[in-house]
């Protein structure tokens, strides 16, 4: 194998699994250390800079970081990264706003419009307002926030948190056009904006249109519309027996909301199996915890009704079959089953909808009638129209919307300063030794053996009485500290300098995870098998260094490294060093910085 090029920022970035997995690449281990140090405000600001909505995301994020977390491979469960973010948001000082950028003192004269006031648009607005753009935000609703405000139930996300974090953006003085729905992009573009960002989400809930539906339409609701009506307090009750169709997170929100609005017998009925459901495992768990059964392999066939009132739903039983090497869900042939109910909530998917974009505008649409959007620049086929969030590539989640927003803002800034939107600015990277003394490091290198802590919750009897009572109480500072200590500090990298190594094997002997091997070089597949412990997780890189006196190589499997620094403590010559790698994505306004600047050379390496 070739020696690893640790000067390429991607190499060490990948080692920080959580940060690499996060669409916005939030520097997770750094803010977790700050939480452990009770520096909540600083931890909040790192988050705010990177993901814009720490308090909201700390309650609602889809947490792609957690399945990636190294801790989950070392013991059973990952660090509760998402809920730690909330600890920072809950405990920060009130003066945090003073540490955020003030409205730009000098405007650059460029006008940008954001259509939709959801997380993607608000991210674009924040990034561009601070550097002098005039940003206008349009939304059909009366308040900014988008789906965060309309579709996420209050028992998961209190409105005060939305108001606060949307407020950190509106204080940068965007021009808000709330209650103003944009009905024609053609007419809108004619207003002469320098750039337009479309962040209108995926606003249309799928409708099954089954037999019998028209006859009892009053009792059959589209999930996301119903949730938004509950949010705006247009709906206060639901029938005693409720069936929720669908297996995604919206279905989980629907069933749990129903329990709070008078639903006593609430069921979730899903076409596929339990494991294939789209809902996050923890959302399913929370629903079941509230006494909501999830029934699987049942495909809705027909609504039954009496005198214009819904009485139940017929379901066809399904099962998996193998067909041409592919798994297919087909009717099992067992007799159909009927479940009685008073109301049905359909949460079987969402779609983008662009009836307001004229097809003769010159914008390219694909075969699914969706606008063609560049995956990196977020640019549409019209140079100054950008897309982001669910509007860009279909329903994803809030953190993806934020990531899209940052990229779109970078593109808009590049475009309007006359630069090439394809030339993306590289990330800002620093790497510095954490060595403080012979055996002292600037981080807590003794790994905690605690298992994942559960977030305390309000008693179900209290929680189910009121849709506005937040179920999770969040970690208190002590629990937060203990959970934060579970983080393995994967950003503190094991950096190896072959010219200093005397091949004494001290690091090999002390490594608790058998990560390090000194061996003859070879081809990767063979090498992975004959390391001290086989490196069978192919998603994790091997760190290879050559230039040793014996002609062997050092091969380190990054997979389950604890970053405990014992290799560096046992190294007599300082060939191993623990160096903190800090990577920050470059946001709009820094585009004149050198492109993709190489990481500074690690200390100790030659």
């Amino acid at each position: 194998m070739k020696p690893t090029d640790i000067r390429n920022p991607d190499y060490f970035h990948k080692v920080v699994d959580c940060q690499w997995a996060c669409p916005a690449h939030t520097p997770v281990p750094e803010y977790i250390r700050l939480i452990a140090a009770k520096r909540y405000t600083d931890a909040y600001l790192i988050n705010w800079k990177s993901n814009v909505f720490p308090g909201i995301l700390g309650r609602t994020c889809d947490r792609p970081c957690e399945p990636a977390c190294r801790r989950g491979r070392v013991e059973e469960e990952p660090v509760a990264i998402c809920r730690l973010k909330r600890v920072a948001a809950d405990n920060k000082e009130d003066s945090v706003a003073a540490l955020m950028p003030a409205p730009a003192a000098k405007k650059n004269g460029k006008r940008v419009a954001c259509i939709g006031a959801g997380p993607a648009s608000l991210t674009v607005a924040r990034d561009l307002l601070a550097i002098g753009y005039e940003v206008h935000i349009f939304d059909g609703d009366a308040k900014a926030g988008g789906m965060v405000r309309t579709q996420i139930p209050r028992f998961r996300l209190p409105e005060s948190v939305i108001d606060e974090e949307v407020g950190y953006i509106t204080r940068l003085e965007p021009v808000l056009h709330l209650g103003e729905r944009v009905d024609s992009l053609k007419a809108f573009l004619a207003q002469g904006w320098d750039a337009v960002f479309v962040g209108t989400g995926a606003p249309r809930g799928r409708d099954l249109k089954l037999p019998g539906q028209a006859e009892c339409a009053a009792n059959i609701h589209i999930g996301i519309d119903w949730l938004s009506n509950v949010s705006f307090e247009h709906i206060h009750t639901i029938g005693k027996r409720v069936i929720v169709l669908g297996g995604g997170n919206t279905a989980m929100d629907c069933c749990r909301t129903s329990r709070r609005l008078g639903g006593e017998d609430v069921k979730v009925i899903v076409r596929s199996g339990f494991d294939e459901m789209k809902a996050s495992p923890w959302e399913k768990e929370d629903a079941m915890h509230e006494g909501i059964p999830i029934l699987n392999f049942l495909n809705p066939r027909e609504f039954t009704h009496e005198n214009g009132k819904l009485t139940g739903v017929w379901f066809t039983k399904m099962h998996w079959v193998e067909e041409g090497g592919k798994k297919k869900l087909v009717p099992s042939g067992e007799p159909d089953v009927h479940y009685e109910c008073d109301d049905v909530l359909m949460a079987v998917g969402q779609e983008n909808a662009f009836p307001w974009i004229e097809r003769d505008l010159g914008m390219t649409f694909d075969k699914w009638d969706m606008p063609v959007v560049d995956q990196v620049t977020m640019q549409s086929s019209i140079a100054n129209v950008f897309f982001g969030g669910d509007a860009a590539f279909g329903p994803k989640n809030i953190i993806w919307a934020v990531a899209h927003g940052h990229e779109a803002a970078v593109s808009i800034d590049l475009l309007l300063t006359g630069e090439d939107v394809k030339q993306r600015p590289g990330p800002g990277v620093t790497i510095a030794s954490t060595k403080m003394g012979i055996h002292e490091w600037a981080y807590d290198n003794d790994p905690s053996l605690d298992h994942r802590f559960r977030v305390p919750q309000v008693e179900p009897e209290v929680a189910l009485r009121n849709v506005k009572v937040e179920v999770e109480k969040g970690f208190d500072p002590l629990l937060g500290f203990k959970e934060a200590r579970r983080c393995l500090n994967c950003d503190v990298q094991t950096v190896f300098a072959a010219d200093l190594c005397i091949e004494c094997d001290a690091c090999v002997d002390i490594c608790p995870m058998d990560c390090i091997t000194f061996t003859e070089n070879g081809e990767e597949t063979a090498l992975r098998e004959h390391l001290k412990a086989p490196a069978l997780n192919l998603t994790q890189d091997l760190y290879i260094a050559d230039g040793l006196k014996t002609g062997r190589i050092m091969a380190k499997d990054e997979d389950v490294c604890l970053h405990c620094g014992l290799c560096a403590e046992r190294c007599p010559t300082g060939a191993w060093d623990m160096q903190q790698f800090y990577l920050e994505m470059t946001h709009a306004g820094c585009s004149s910085a050198p492109k993709a600047k190489p990481a500074p050379q690690p200390v100790g390496a030659k």
Partner: protein, 351 residues
């Protein structure tokens, strides 16, 4: 040393041996030796060897004297028995324990000071008597604990850290052991575990005095240019005569070698020593030839390593003393104190 203890977390694929223990279960407390010390590698090799031969930790008895090397029994197989003796007196204490309780496996760990200087007499007599033990000398050629004076195994002409040259002749513990009748003699290097681990396994299986001299560079005081016990020097002058594989009794033996390449030696306990020749003329069953070869190579400045001599049919001290099968410490009063009738029988025989 390190300030934090080695976390008990381990690699998900960590294997278990026949007793259900992982290699990590054979570890001891965290070492307080200098970072990079060769002795820590030897401890790791002992841990690996004990794990591989499925040794029940309570069947091992560890002995040591004084010195850096003699601290190391604390750093492996914590649940084993252990005794830290007076400087140079470890062989006597081990011999005593062995006499009393012959069913344990005896491991003495010592250094060049403890065995070749203050304890040379003790070393010689334990070997001479054929005490059933594995005796590992962690040989760094320097008094590390007193900051770097030459030891009795320092080579003539070897330089100290500040440049002084050693004028005395060295004691070669391997040659000494051969002359004194050791029945399993090996030499290895702390930086080569693929060679060292099988040597220790074979020694633990051997019945009789098994001596392994392990060159173990002292990173703090004897790893400089001019030293003949440094990592670089040992690597450059290391001449392995054979490669050893040890197959424990009852383990399935698979033949995957060309005939003639290998020599198999079956020991008392049924373990098989499988020797792959590297040096064609070297015969590890010929004591005198081994002595001649070692002497010749020593004058050429080469360090001969490998399994240098083995007598698989060796007798140990208990055979010489003709002791009973039951360990002496398990004999009851009724076995040890003859009844009055026995005395009368003797008396009547003398009348």
């Amino acid at each position: 040393m390190t300030y934090i203890a080695k976390p008990p977390l381990h690699h998900p694929s960590l294997e278990k041996n026949a007793l259900g223990f992982t290699r990590r279960d054979y570890e001891g407390r965290i070492s307080t030796l200098c970072a990079g010390c060769g002795h820590d590698s030897i401890s790791a090799a002992i841990i690996q060897a004990c794990f591989e031969i499925d040794l029940a930790p309570h069947r091992l008895a560890k002995f040591s004297g004084i010195g850096c090397s003699s601290k190391t029994p604390d750093y492996f197989v914590s649940p084993a028995h252990g005794f830290n003796a007076v400087h140079g007196r470890m062989p006597s204490v081990l011999t005593g324990a062995n006499i009393a309780s012959k069913d344990l496996i005896y491991l003495g760990v010592s250094g060049d000071g403890d065995s070749a200087s203050i304890g040379l007499g003790q070393f010689a007599h334990a070997v001479r008597r054929g005490v059933n033990m594995t005796y590992i000398v962690e040989n760094n050629g320097v008094y590390g604990l007193t900051k770097g004076q030459f030891s009795a195994t320092s080579d003539k002409g070897s330089k100290a850290k500040k440049g002084a040259e050693n004028k005395d002749s060295p004691i070669d513990l391997v040659m000494l052991a051969l002359q004194l009748g050791a029945t399993y003699v090996g030499r290895s290097f702390s930086g080569d575990k693929t060679q060292l681990v099988p040597l220790i396994k074979g020694a633990l299986h051997h019945k009789g005095a098994a001596i392994i001299d392990v060159l173990s560079p002292c990173v703090a005081f004897n790893n400089h240019v001019g030293s003949t016990k440094s990592f670089d020097y040992v690597r450059e002058h290391n001449e392995a005569v054979n490669r050893l594989d040890v197959i424990s009794p009852r383990a399935p033996i698979r033949a995957e070698y060309a005939p003639g390449e290998l020599k198999e030696v079956v020991q008392h306990d049924g373990s098989t020593l499988r020797l792959r020749k590297i040096e064609e003329e070297y015969d590890p069953s010929d004591r005198n030839a081994a002595l001649g070869y070692l002497a010749r190579k020593a004058t050429e400045g080469e360090i001969v390593t490998g399994l240098l001599y083995v007598d698989p049919a060796a007798h140990d001290l208990h055979d010489s003393l003709n002791t009973v099968d039951t360990p002496l410490n398990k004999l009851r009063d009724v076995d040890l104190i003859p009844p009055v009738s026995a005395l009368e029988k003797i008396n009547s025989g003398l009348r």
